[in-house]
């Protein structure tokens, strides 16, 4: 052995050890010598007798060797699995901020501590990050030296023939009339395989032969681990460069790809707003299909299609469609259809007869039949009048129950009805505090009530104009009910890299798990006028095919009169 091969701390690998202990003919001492150095015994055996005097360089080295050891990698993997679990149990801010607020309100004490410890942002928390970063440091510290060792190994000749074959898990002998040279040449030719499908790398020295195959096993292993590093780096880069905007667009309207045109917009810290390509998009129409033939599945969604027109910065326009599962790609950004609903056009005239509000109001669906809730805030009334707030439901197919409650019976507008409750007072919009447009804080407002004390319900069908109670004015509903779509536009330049590294990891993993790595040695000697060919085999990891490999090598011996193989004993 010219140089010591790199072996990660604590790895148990007969193949790698075979080089040192078995393959080296035990000339360098017992196998435990290499074992104790790398074993859990740790640094004591390295630093000689007595208490270790490591010094700070030694301590660093020891820490590094521990970190890159198999046992620590194993611990970190287990920790990672455990640390990921809370994120599925507790609500997470980046997924459902409202649920986090609810949880905090329900569990004031525990919630506060959990929040401080980052349990509502598990996957960006310091402790989760620490685990996976340490794991990757451990991985790199293990894989880089291993890659170098593998690189040397790839250029080396197969390890030379050991003097005794009896130690190996698979072995056999064949007796032939052929000369040792002929026998060796035949075995070598067999092991080399066909020129277009080489099997073993074979090194013949005189009447001895050593051969090795399955370098791809280690290559695959290294590719897998390095690809994981590449995956992490690309995901992180994507996080820094990405942007995502959300917009609600109603039929006949559109938006431009500019930060100000989105309802919400978030981006990574390296993102430059100037990189947005200023295309524009118009929603021409929206189609939805629902199940009507199957009774059990009646009303279930079957297809959503948004027909849009894209206007490129050059002025060129083209029609496109966006469907669920089929995002539209425009200038490298993907546009997703994330939701849809109805946006009735409402006009409110105040008591002074002025039009105080005229807009399309998106109503958010609350069930599969699009029973949809919406809020109208009318702050711009004539001076001196109370501001008006309307809250209510839009029902595409209205069904009134016996108890007076109403819901929608089908997702399409076959019998649309708008039911509104009316509030008056100060909406609080002038104080400059941002408000959710889909919620009306009714605590400080006065509801309109009937004489019985029940809330007044204003009912509107398309085209209706109805008087608001308490002389507040009138409200009218447009004859057409426009649809709206919720669009999500996302750009992540790292996607191609993420996919490439993920597939490289998959490929490397498959190759490393299913490629057998084997060494075969053969020796031919003349005894009693016949040639005796001995063959031995060693494999890395579990390899059910090793015996067969040795048998086939023996079978390649020409004119073989008798061959015996010793099957491996288990254990």
């Amino acid at each position: 052995m010219r140089e010591t091969k790199y072996v990660p701390e604590g790895i148990s690998d007969a193949f790698a050890e075979g080089d040192r202990g078995v393959g080296d003919d035990a000339a360098r001492g017992e196998r435990p010598a290499s074992g104790s150095e790398k074993g859990p015994g740790g640094p004591g055996s390295e630093s000689g007798q007595g208490l270790p005097r490591l010094g700070w360089v030694g301590t660093l080295r020891w820490t590094w060797r521990q970190l890159t050891s198999m046992r620590v990698a194993l611990m970190l993997l287990m920790l990672l699995a455990v640390a990921a679990v809370p994120g599925s149990v507790l609500p997470q801010r980046n997924q459902d901020p409202a649920a986090v607020l609810t949880y905090l309100a329900d569990h004031p004490t525990a919630g506060e501590w959990l929040d401080r410890a980052g349990f509502f942002e598990v996957y960006t928390s310091p402790w989760f990050s620490a685990i996976y970063l340490l794991l990757f440091v451990s991985l790199v510290g293990c894989i880089l030296p291993r890659s170098a060792a593998h690189w040397r190994n790839l250029r080396d000749r197969p390890p030379r023939v050991p003097s005794r074959f009896s130690r190996f898990p698979a072995q056999g002998t064949a007796i032939t009339d052929a000369t040792p040279d002929e026998a060796m040449a035949a075995v070598a030719a067999h092991l080399r395989g066909r020129p277009w499908l080489p099997a073993f790398r074979v090194d013949v020295r005189g009447h001895e032969l050593s051969a090795e195959r399955g370098y791809l096993r280690e290559t695959g292993n290294l590719v897998f681990h390095l690809a994981l590093v590449g995956l992490l780096v690309s995901v992180a880069t994507g996080q820094m460069l990405h942007y995502r905007g959300q917009a609600i667009v109603t039929e006949g309207r559109g938006f431009a790809n500019a930060v100000v045109d989105y309802d919400t917009f978030e981006n990574g810290s390296w993102f430059e707003p100037s990189t947005l390509t200023p295309f524009a998009m118009t929603l021409d129409s929206f189609d939805s299909e629902f199940e009507t033939s199957d009774v059990a599945a009646f009303g279930q969604a079957r297809d959503f299609t948004a027909h849009v027109t894209i206007t490129e910065p050059s002025g060129e326009t083209r029609p496109e469609t966006v469907k669920v599962n089929h995002p539209l790609v425009v200038d490298g950004a993907k546009i997703y259809l994330q939701g849809n609903g109805f946006a009735p056009e409402l006009t409110v005239t105040d008591a002074a007869g002025e039009v105080a509000f005229s807009q399309r109001v998106p109503f958010l669906p609350e069930d599969v039949n699009y029973t949809s809730r919406g809020v109208v805030k009318v702050p711009d009334v004539s001076p001196g009048l109370d501001q008006i707030g309307l809250v209510g439901y839009f029902l595409p197919t209205a069904m009134i129950e016996a108890d007076g409650s109403a819901r929608s019976g089908f997702p399409l507008p076959t019998d649309p009805l708008l039911i509104l409750e009316v509030y008056r007072g100060d909406l609080g919009l002038d104080e400059g505090v941002p408000q959710n447009v889909y919620r009306l804080d009714t605590a400080t407002l006065t509801p309109s009530v009937e004489d019985t004390g029940e809330r007044v319900k204003v009912l509107l069908r398309p085209g209706d104009t109805v008087e608001l109670p308490d002389g507040l004015g009138t409200v009218s509903l447009g004859a057409d009910i426009p649809r709206y779509v919720a669009l999500d536009l996302r750009h992540d330049p790292s996607l191609a890299f993420v996919l490439t590294f993920a597939l490289a990891a998959l490929g490397g993993l498959t190759v490393s798990l299913f490629t057998p790595r084997r060494r075969v040695w053969a020796r031919a000697q003349v005894a009693d006028g016949a040639t005796v060919v001995e063959v031995a085999g060693l494999a890395r990891g579990d390899d059910a095919g090793l015996d067969g490999e040795v048998e086939r090598a023996l079978g390649a011996v020409p004119g073989s009169t008798r061959s015996t193989t010793t099957p491996r004993t288990e254990g």
């Binding site: 604590g10 790895i11 148990s12 690998d13 074992g35 790398k38 074993g39 859990p40 198999m70 046992r71 990698a73 194993l74 993997l77 287990m78 990672l80 699995a81 990921a84 679990v85 994120g87 599925s88 997470q92 980046n94 997924q95 598990v122 995901v235 995502r244 199940e291 199957d294 059990a296 599945a297 279930q300 969604a301 079957r302 297809d303 959503f304 469907k323 669920v324 599962n325 089929h326 995002p327 997703y336 994330q338 999500d488 996302r490 996607l495 993420v498 996919l499 993920a502 597939l503 990891a505 998959l506 993993l509 498959t510 798990l513 299913f514 990891g541 579990d542 059910a544 288990e570 254990g571």
Partner: protein
Amino acid sequence: MQIAELSELLVWAAATAFAVALVAFATDLARLSGAKVDARDEARAGAQTRATADVGAGSEAGAAYGPAGSGAPEATGTSSGAVSRKAAGIGMSVSWLGTALLLAAIVLRGLAAGRIPWANMYEFTLVGTFVALAVFLGVNLRRDARYLGAFVTGLGTIFLLLAQNVFFVEAMGVQPALQKYWLVIHVGVAIAATGTFTVAFVMSALQLLRDSRDAGSAVLAHPRWGWLDSTPTPNALEAQSFRLNAVGFVLWTFTVIGGAIWAEDAWGRYWGWDPKEVWSFVVWVVYAAYLHARTTRGWSGRRAAWFVVAGYACVLFNFTGVNLIFDGMHSYSGLS
């Protein structure tokens, strides 16, 4: 509707077949166990007079299931007085029958729904059970692994009963979010991985039991556990379990990557720590830890087998718990 009902009936028939196979396989194990006990008594009684080599062949651990390619098991098994493996043969035949019935049920289910038959928990369970049985039967084509029969058919029976009684939903089409070829690939491979992990789990569980019995565990020393002596040695079980787990791990890796590609198209992000994604990740990490444990000094063998048990528990939780308890984007069980 009639096709759907026929499919349901076939599932009941398959469950019945697996239950029958379970009884047959259990009978076989009991017989082998009895033969072992007899052989032991014999060995004790005639230790002085009989050739030890002969008895050794009979009482050597795992003789009924030698290493791969070591010839027909009957040949070695007979050394301790011709144990009839007829019950195991019946178990195998009935397992083939049940698996064929289940396949027919799955195909009819797909015809009734007019799509690929793995879009909700019920169908996932049917196909997952089919894959587990197919892996078991496939392994048996290459080597004698009938000792697994009782456990695989037992689990299969339980899974089918759960499917029929708890997870059942009518056959129908799917919502737009599921309308993509990725449903066939992503979910199909996930089911294949689950089925493979199931059989590997049985092997590792047997490995742990057998290992404990060999190590002289007080509980497992009871004659009631005598059948464990007719399973392969812990080392052989570990090697077989690893081969299946390696296949399962590659399939699972593909499931996760395929899921990410699909999520990128369907949900606008390739990874979002949805509960199903979290648990798929946990499953992946646990099995990755298993692969590392196998090559770590002091962690191979028993400890590595515990990783398989933990990993399979996570697989089951990922399928049942995550679908039914958590509110995530993978809520396709069809159950309300």
